[in-house]
Symmetry: C2
Subunit: 318 residues, 2 copies
Amino acid sequence: MIPDTAQRHRQTVHVTEVGLRDGLQAERRLLPASEKIALIGKLIDAGVKDFELTSFVSSKAVPQMADAAEIFSAFKERGDLLLSALVPNEHGAERAVEAGADAMVVFMSASESHNLKNVNRSREVSLRSFETVAEIAKVHGVALHGAISTAFGCPFEGEVPVAEVLKIAETYAAIGVTRLSLGDTTGMATPSLVIERIRALKTAVPDMEIALHFHNTRGVGLVCAWTGLAEGISRFEASVGGLGGCPFVPEASGNIATEDLVYLLEESGYDTGIDLCKLSDAALLAERFVGHTLPGQIMKAGPRLRTWPLEAARTANG
Amino acid sequence: MIPDTAQRHRQTVHVTEVGLRDGLQAERRLLPASEKIALIGKLIDAGVKDFELTSFVSSKAVPQMADAAEIFSAFKERGDLLLSALVPNEHGAERAVEAGADAMVVFMSASESHNLKNVNRSREVSLRSFETVAEIAKVHGVALHGAISTAFGCPFEGEVPVAEVLKIAETYAAIGVTRLSLGDTTGMATPSLVIERIRALKTAVPDMEIALHFHNTRGVGLVCAWTGLAEGISRFEASVGGLGGCPFVPEASGNIATEDLVYLLEESGYDTGIDLCKLSDAALLAERFVGHTLPGQIMKAGPRLRTWPLEAARTANG
């Protein structure tokens, strides 16, 4: 159903900013920690409260994330934020605890070949290793989140059966994951698949909070988010400015842009708690830092009711 | 409501290609007629049947459209196509008849200042002048279509009351317009506005075919199309590759890309009669002709089930 904005006026929708992790990870230029901290500061000023801030992976594998502990140390005293980090294994989990993360995120792919490619392990080995991570999280009172990559399709295998997603979700639930993120790694989600997967997950893991993480690689990222919203989902992951990209097609888009998502939500009567203009400023700062144009639209066009003097236009019989 | 793809399997959705007119009009490089004809040929090969092909405006005002008659003459014998052209006035209507157009499109803005800026007339004068155009169309058995620019908001005035849209639609109906296109000139449409305007129009002009023409200037063009679809609209205008742009913000997007729309529709169980791969090839040709990157996503990422060898990926914990 199309959300009835009259009925749902000011219903809250939660936005998790993943630009610092999923976005920057795809960038060639290594941003110094000072720039990341400045960008996060601007995002916090705009009202963003929930961040996937970095990942505690090998800095040899992902040099962009080598400053993970430093980034955390700048913000961990902020009790009003929820700061999470990706952890690939036990060692990462220990580093996340030490850094003061509020949540650690285990992650794996729904398709075998993508998991092998991404973390060099079978899905079975990934799942087993999360038990230790879960134990560490529990002992230290850190929340445990779980992400599923290639949840709507795999760039190596094609279709990913919903059963594969459910299997992982059920194991996540069993080890204490409280928030599940469905990752549309290479932009293969469609409205039909979104509906199918959400409905199946609501039955299989009814107590799990579900977050949706769409990429705009094929232009329909916000349509998928809109579909998820109509299915009752109220948490979405997005990347400021659309930071990030596609690992296969350099010129294609990656994550949906946080400000475009916030624009859609706020214009549809939902409350994100985020100031669109300040968020767009953050997107422009991100663009300056990475040194190339980002795909976000609102950061270019401005808010809906931005008006122009009559002299401003080129001819446009739109 | 989200369209139930099981129920609506293979319901037809009509796509009108406006790239040759609305798209190219915004381009600096003047394409020779031979390139336009080659592009149209590729689009026809892909299955596109409905074109807003050009406009019969002053070639001084819009040099890109100076070859309007030549373009028509290349395709007017094709009885399986519907070829329309924008006509600003009586003289344009006569040229359209002479060129062999199947339909002529009168156009005006829902907001006074945009109409003044665009065609240098008040809305009242525009509406009056269409009566003569309608007469010419009737005499020659040419279909009459009507477009309303700034139908969801005006870049000079901001909000555009739905009543302004209805007033024009009713006059269009009275003079014999059979297809009405709602133009989202600078990307100010939102799902709520789409629902409001469609429902009001269905009551005010129940016999009128309604087409939706969205721009992706603020990233939500396809969400608006999706919303229109759920409201029962089955005709959408789009521009191959996303040709075109925003008259105020050069770096912002214009029309939604035809191939991204077709991708969304076909993946959702609708039948557009268009071959996505051939359409993407047409978009790549358009990109070559205009000489700069176009905003379409499918033309870069490829179809949904495009797969890659394991070696192709950069690291991507998406």
